[in-house]
Symmetry: C2
């Protein structure tokens, strides 16, 4: 697994920043280290693919990258020839179903894990990169053939992780309660709660928490713990 | 479908009330009208069935009902002989998978729609009573064989519906945005956002919004609208 070049964002939008801006330096590092000039964008998580592509293109082109939308050609061929892949957020179920429907799950996994092409994921694009989509926040608005993700990393991520507001009168489960309910099940493993502004950089067998904010680590059978930015998390791989 | 006697709660717990207390009058009406003395409780949405049964039993026994846990005997036999069914909240995916695994989906539907036994649902137990679980707030921690619900009503419900806090800096989708994303899809239909404290009473072909709070109605292609308590919603059946 030493070929990995992966950056997983909690979200593309963070309060006080333009789209992707808070992660600009890390995204540039990821792509430039790997001589990427053209990025294959996968907009499946939102309904309007052209509009989504235009949003992403308007940012990444300013940073010096060509952006191609996977919906503009044959998806498999485009993945086979991609220099780098970016999967954006939206609905995780819609996204994962589309990846399965287009036969892309094994192919993307192979290109990222064995050929080392950079993978950038945000929100739903981060959920699908993990072991499974078990800890997405999205609603199950379509039925995918499996909840198994691309399995680029061996744990789950909860993007947009949010702390309970102690003044709230709302009685729905808190995010932490939802994750702990998952970890009561025998098939559950580690979950990283990525607060907005958190990112994970995975290079080969190294993983580091980057970004603007601490994240929260849930290991089954242990109390949740706070992880500071720049912490080496390679032991979770 | 004139046999229906159904009460769907957004939640069992509401700020300022004991467990189920805010709906006590409507629950009693539902059960007493139908001469119910014994309630079959289905605790599948939470992991500890005995503990969950004890919580429910401690309340309903004070109100004069015997409570039986479905996990204490043969599930199908207990449903076949039930005077009334109560399905409580927890994780909607875990609950729905258990209903399918035990072969209860068709059976409960038949007993409620054709034999008229009272059905009380709360939170996840409300989600599974609808067309599908597409608008649950829960995480997909297990993979059910389908997202189709008991279909006791022909629409979807979002329990624990919550309005966007305009002061929030969080960039995750709001509840309304999630529901509208669902309604972009051609298979989606009507969604009722039941705020905590809202309930729906369905008797035969009549449906009325009850409880403590307005709810929010989402009809595909129309702007969401607020529905006041005591509104007749029979036209949605
Ligand atoms: Ca999302
Ligand atoms: Ca729940």
């Amino acid at each position: 697994m030493s070929a990995r070049n992966i950056l997983l964002l909690s979200s593309s939008r963070v309060h006080g920043y333009e789209y992707l801006e808070y992660a600009q330096k890390d995204i540039n590092n990821l792509f430039r280290k790997n001589n990427v000039s053209k990025v294959l964008f996968i907009p499946y998580a939102l309904k309007d693919h052209d509009k989504y592509l235009a949003t992403v293109e308007s940012v990444l082109s300013k940073w010096g990258y060509d952006v191609q939308g996977i919906h503009k050609g044959d998806p498999k061929t485009l993945v086979e020839h991609a220099e780098a892949i970016f999967i954006g957020g939206g609905n995780t179920f819609v996204l994962l179903k589309a990846l399965y429907d287009h036969g892309l799950v094994e192919l993307i996994r192979h290109r990222v894990l064995h050929e080392g092409i950079p993978y950038l994921g945000s929100s739903a694009g981060t959920n699908v990169a993990t072991k499974s989509i078990a800890t997405t926040n999205d609603m199950p608005i379509v039925y995918p053939p499996s909840f198994e993700g691309l399995q680029l990393v061996p744990f789950n991520i909860n993007p947009h992780y949010i702390d309970h507001d102690p003044t709230s009168k709302h009685k729905g489960e808190t995010r932490e309660e939802r994750i702990l309910q998952y970890q009561e099940l025998s098939h559950a493993g580690i979950v990283i709660g990525l607060r907005e502004g958190c990112t994970l950089l995975i290079e080969g067998n190294s993983m580091i928490l980057k970004g603007l904010s601490r994240s929260r680590l849930f290991i089954p059978g242990k109390s949740p713990e706070e992880i500071e930015v720049d912490t080496d998390l390679s032991y979770l791989l």
